[in-house]
Amino acid sequence: MAAITERQKLAYANAQAADGRVNLEFETDEGMTLNMGPQHPATHGTLRIVLKLDGEQVISCEPVMGYMHRGYEKLTEVRTYPQVTTLVNRIDWLGSFANEVPFILAAEKLMDIEAPPRAQWIRTLLFEMSRIANISLFVGDMALHIGAMTAAFYAFRDREYVLNQIESATGGRFHPNFDRIGGLKDDLPKGWIVDTKASMERIRDFCDEMETLVEGNEIFQARTRGVGVIPADVAMAYGLSGANLRASGVDWDLRRDQPVGLAWNEVDWHVWTHPDGDSFSRFWVRLQEIRESTKIIDQLLDGLPSGAIMAKVPRIIKVPEGEAWVATENPLGEMGYYVVSKGDLGPFRVKIRTASFNNVAVVPWVTRGVYVPDVVTILASLYFILGDIDR
């Protein structure tokens, strides 16, 4: 066992002092302070939520982050472009492939190249598959947090079918790192299309199952309807995105409204919104999104163009000087990269705009006055991933 070094000791002491300070800050005479996290089943691992309670009613709620802060924005400055792709895979670890795409697109925009159509279609395919892998887990996770245990197992079970397809196409079950500037690493393997269609059938069955098992359950509805209502203007002001925004009734989907170099406009699908803005509508919208994704994937598979999968790019990638912003509609919401290049091998500065960071910012607002069980519902329905918040 290695001895702890000075630096480590210092960090340890610092972190402890910080904890203590937060504790002091929240200690009150009235009511009670309840810590949820950093290790708590409701906080997806490592978010810490400090609730000031009066009985079981929340007076104020303060998310404490940074337990998963890995310094992405600094690390991107010392990596080359292909290396950054590896790194950003791990921001939203459930929809890994979707993390790569906007960064690659931003780099391509700066370099003024465009991937060939087949690459674009395959990117869209994998993008949507990672969306399914992400959101199907959300469905199980939310059910689990509301107490329905079995749904989570079904989610894990059926998610595997999608992961299998991603793995057989990219070689990576979790972090594909399949995108390259100018195209893709490889073409699809033989027989993949048939298998994927079969797995999409499974996913549709899964959606039906969840609709009866979870969404249609009276208790689930009683727990989620009218809980954690976020009106549209609040959602806009906080910069909520993705299904959270659409569940508040804002009809906005970057896939449809601002397509950047991917093939969504080539197929027929629908953007679902829900007027209520409560936890149930967030669940409902996401469940519909899985359905739409399977539809998109089926159509993309049918119309997959042939041709090259890689544009002509130099062997050593140097990105010309400039600034570019590309955002895509990721599973968790809008994810964007603001890439500043100085013409080096690596980016000069990358600002990563992640969905969860903004989505969770609304938590103090929306949990004020609710009860402890509802906090869990709201957190689960907002659906954040810690890597996506802290980066």
Partner: protein
């Protein structure tokens, strides 16, 4: 639109794009009329994006104008830029080579700039389907700027993040404390002159057959090497 062009013709869309971008030029014009002299620079990439740089005093004003008069109701993010070239390079050079001599010239990006630090924020308009990047210079000797909290409630954590990463203070922010890092973490990590210690003390793993590190400026940190010894797991 997705131009389904073959890779050979990737240059084509650029040529076909209209030479002017009326919507974005109108936008800049509108901002200029609303804010007057406060708009000190702008840049339009045709068909793609627009950058506008305002003075520090007009920062909040610019946000309000964009939100209320120009329809930019959706807040994407707020962050900062440090235009100082990194004095350390990437530490990926062979340790035997002489260290690179970095330039200290500050070259700012689109819409210009006069200072090392810039705060920038991005807004979006759903109705016009336009994005807008607002930039503002922050002088080195006075790293302060008005908070945008009255403009967009969601800016709260972004400003805290900028404080932590760059050390820029937002006046008027009610709860401006660190967001991520524990306790008394020293330094502002996203400033270019913040060193990544591990890169300094450890040879860049991308270079194989590297010579042992010269007993140089500072001793190798034992924990880093120990950790790599103890771990059986491979890197990604």
């Amino acid at each position: 639109m997705i131009p389904l062009s073959s890779p050979e013709t990737t240059e084509a869309p650029e040529a076909e794009a209209p030479a002017t971008d009326e919507a974005r030029e109108e936008l800049v014009a509108a901002l200029t009329t609303e804010l007057g002299d406060a708009v000190v620079g702008s840049h339009i990439r045709t068909g793609d994006d627009v950058w506008v740089r305002v003075t520090r005093d007009a920062w909040r004003e610019a946000g309000l104008v964009a939100r209320d008069h120009l329809g930019f109701r959706y807040f994407e993010f707020l962050s900062a830029l440090d235009w100082l070239p990194s004095p350390f390079g990437k530490n990926e050079d062979s340790p035997t080579d002489p260290p690179p001599t970095p330039s200290t010239d500050i070259v700012t990006g689109y819409a210009g700039g006069d200072t090392r630090f810039q705060v920038f924020a991005r807004l979006h308009s759903f109705s016009q389907k336009l994005g807008l990047t607002l930039k503002v210079d922050i002088p080195d000797d006075d790293l302060r700027i008005d908070t945008w909290l009255p403009v967009f409630a969601g800016v709260n954590w972004h400003e805290r993040e900028v404080l932590e990463m760059f050390g820029i203070t937002f006046t008027g922010h009610p709860h401006l404390v660190k967001l991520y890092l524990p306790g008394e973490f020293e330094g502002y990590p996203l400033r270019k002159d913040f060193p990544l210690l591990a890169r300094h003390v450890k040879p860049w793993p991308g270079i194989v057959d590297v010579e042992p590190m010269p007993a140089g400026d500072e001793p190798a940190e034992p924990d880093a090497t120990d950790a790599s010894d103890a771990a059986e797991g491979g890197d990604a």
